[in-house]
Symmetry: C2
Subunit: 357 residues, 2 copies
């Protein structure tokens, strides 16, 4: 029996994935040269579909990396000469912060315990920080920073660059790229694809900063921003890219555009509301994130009375896979992904079975 995955990534593959994969194989796209017009058309198609889906203006390039973690490194190399500032409230925002220190930058942080969120008004950005690193959706804890607060944070700090990690939420957050300098995600979350591809949206301002930094410091050698950018102008990548991943992403983005991103966002909110309602009303479950404004719409975390491993096991017997808690919460929480690949009916079935636990 095929399983339905409600795991926070790798996650359920999008229903059209197999069809697109078959086309990729039938058209022998795995063998084409990454310096051919055929590849450049494929590359451009994906960029165009993403540009439409996420409303990315021409001031920003859409670039491909091996993973979103690689984007952390490339952003720090490109946008930070000396000092970065990080909002940390979970394992992934912490890793972004750790990457900065590992590159010998001075990394500031404003840290809160897992499960808590940030508002713009409470954030003081250190004077010499060049970049504000924000995690829209903290996959480890199910905390989301409202997009309006992210925008406000930039408006209060117009001289700083702002980077948004939307790994486990894109295309849900409706970011305004007139404000957001750079953002990134990976494809094995809400896009319902196998892992192995990161997408980096990055502005001309970041490019200019990288070019300035390069005069004095290394900005990395592999996939450095100026080289990536130059290649992207020609719909190419510096190294041989994950052509299969780029192709499939373009087709899924096209499918999303056919539905309409606003519809996808509304469906996400409706499914999330059903899950939170269940958690709120059902004995044995308590939402981990107390403040409603900070509750993630895409990765929903609940405390559980009984060991979560027992629940995961029971639910797997019913043909569904849910995620365990992260780190210290492994056996006391569940993480339920709410991505476009799982329908309202899938969610209803999950909640029905969870209700019988």
């Amino acid at each position: 029996m095929p399983l339905t995955f409600f795991t926070p990534g790798p996650a359920q593959l999008y229903p059209t994935f197999e069809k697109h994969l078959q086309t990729f194989v039938a058209d022998q796209l795995g063998a084409i040269s990454h310096r051919s017009q055929q590849y450049r058309n494929l590359h451009k198609f994906t960029v165009d579909q993403l540009r439409t889906l996420l409303n990315v203006p021409e001031t920003h390039a859409i670039l491909f990396l091996g993973s979103a973690s690689e984007a952390w490194e490339r952003i720090l190399f490109s946008c930070v000469e000396l000092e970065s500032f990080h909002l940390v409230n979970g394992s992934f925002s912490k890793k972004f912060y750790d990457y900065s220190s590992a590159l010998n930058k001075y990394a500031h942080k404003f840290e809160k315990p897992m499960g808590q969120g940030f508002s713009a008004s409470e954030i003081d950005v250190p004077e010499y920080a060049e970049l504000i690193a924000v995690t829209h959706n903290e996959t480890s804890s199910g905390v989301q920073m409202p997009v309006s607060e992210i925008h406000k944070l930039k408006q209060r700090n117009p001289d700083k660059l702002i980077a948004v990690d939307m790994v486990s939420s894109a295309p849900y957050p409706d970011l305004d790229y007139n404000l957001i300098d750079t953002a990134f995600f990976s494809v094995q979350k809400a896009f319902g694809l196998p892992a192995g591809l990161g997408v980096w949206i990055v502005s001309e301002k970041c490019l200019a900063k990288a070019q300035t930094i390069k005069k004095q410091y290394s900005i990395g050698a592999h996939n450095d921003l100026p080289t990536l950018w130059k290649n992207a102008l020609n719909n190419e990548t510096p190294a041989t890219p994950n052509v299969m991943g780029i192709y499939l992403l373009g087709k899924i983005a096209e499918d999303f555009n056919a539905i309409g991103v606003q519809t996808i966002r509304k469906q996400t909110e409706q499914k999330a509301a059903a899950i939170y309602k269940f958690i709120d009303r059902t004995a044995g479950f308590t939402p981990f994130v107390k403040e409603k404004a900070f509750r993630s719409q895409t990765v929903i975390v609940t405390d559980t009375e009984q060991p979560s491993s027992d629940i995961i096991k029971s639910i797997k017997d019913k043909g569904m896979v849910i995620g365990s808690g992260y780190g210290e919460f492994k056996n006391s929480q569940l993480r339920i992904a709410n991505f476009p690949a799982t329908s309202s009916e899938d969610v209803e079935k999950l909640l029905f079975e969870l209700g019988k636990i």
Copy 2:
């Protein structure tokens, strides 16, 4: 009509690729957690198959990156504090050299024109160079450095680390990992898979060096060697990996092991001999690499009397794709890949059609 690709990468997909891809999809492996036992088993399977295929001892880890170009950067971060030394005779060996400068290392080089090769006896390694960077197979020019010369070079310079780029030749070169400190390849060449995965073979000595360098300099943040190594001990990767690529690579390596690597190497040499014989004897074709000892067995480059674009076009009409020359040789050379995915019969058919040009 499906085409047969004799291009130097992306290249013809291996005949069993589709079968393995179907199993990957049917088993829903694109959705499994990269922190699950199921993933760790898959990861271990691939590492074990590669260890057997390439005869890699337990002193060396087998690690996964986004591409072989990423390996250039990670090797320089991990193995070079201040100075590296590069044998440069084409575009890819030049890029390895350029990466070193881009990371603010002092990069020495011994350069020869494209088409020429290196012998150990003519190479003087600068006193303070910590790493010797060797390209076993220069994809741009079709020059191979004999494995015996690579081994000799290390034996003459036992205190230096040696790195071997075997991107477009593995599993052909029979490297002795008692001598070779690190080597790497990508999967879209001789392994006949879609691009998007690099494999990095690296010794405990390199790990120790990275740990020493880290005390004073950055060794990178993403996929830094100590973190990759620690995760590999548990059959995991620090970031979500290209699970599909790793799975498929393991299955292809298993197929290669079933045939036997010595047989694959012999078949490679027999097919290469047929192609070189044709080039030597056929009017309008002249081998680019004059010295036989340096002629690549996996990427065969020939000068052409007529514009190579015309030949490529005619051959494509017959259902086969061959590579153009690289850079300045784009329209005066052909590059014919000779990987396991193309059989003796495929090669015969290609030579038959080339003979009618």
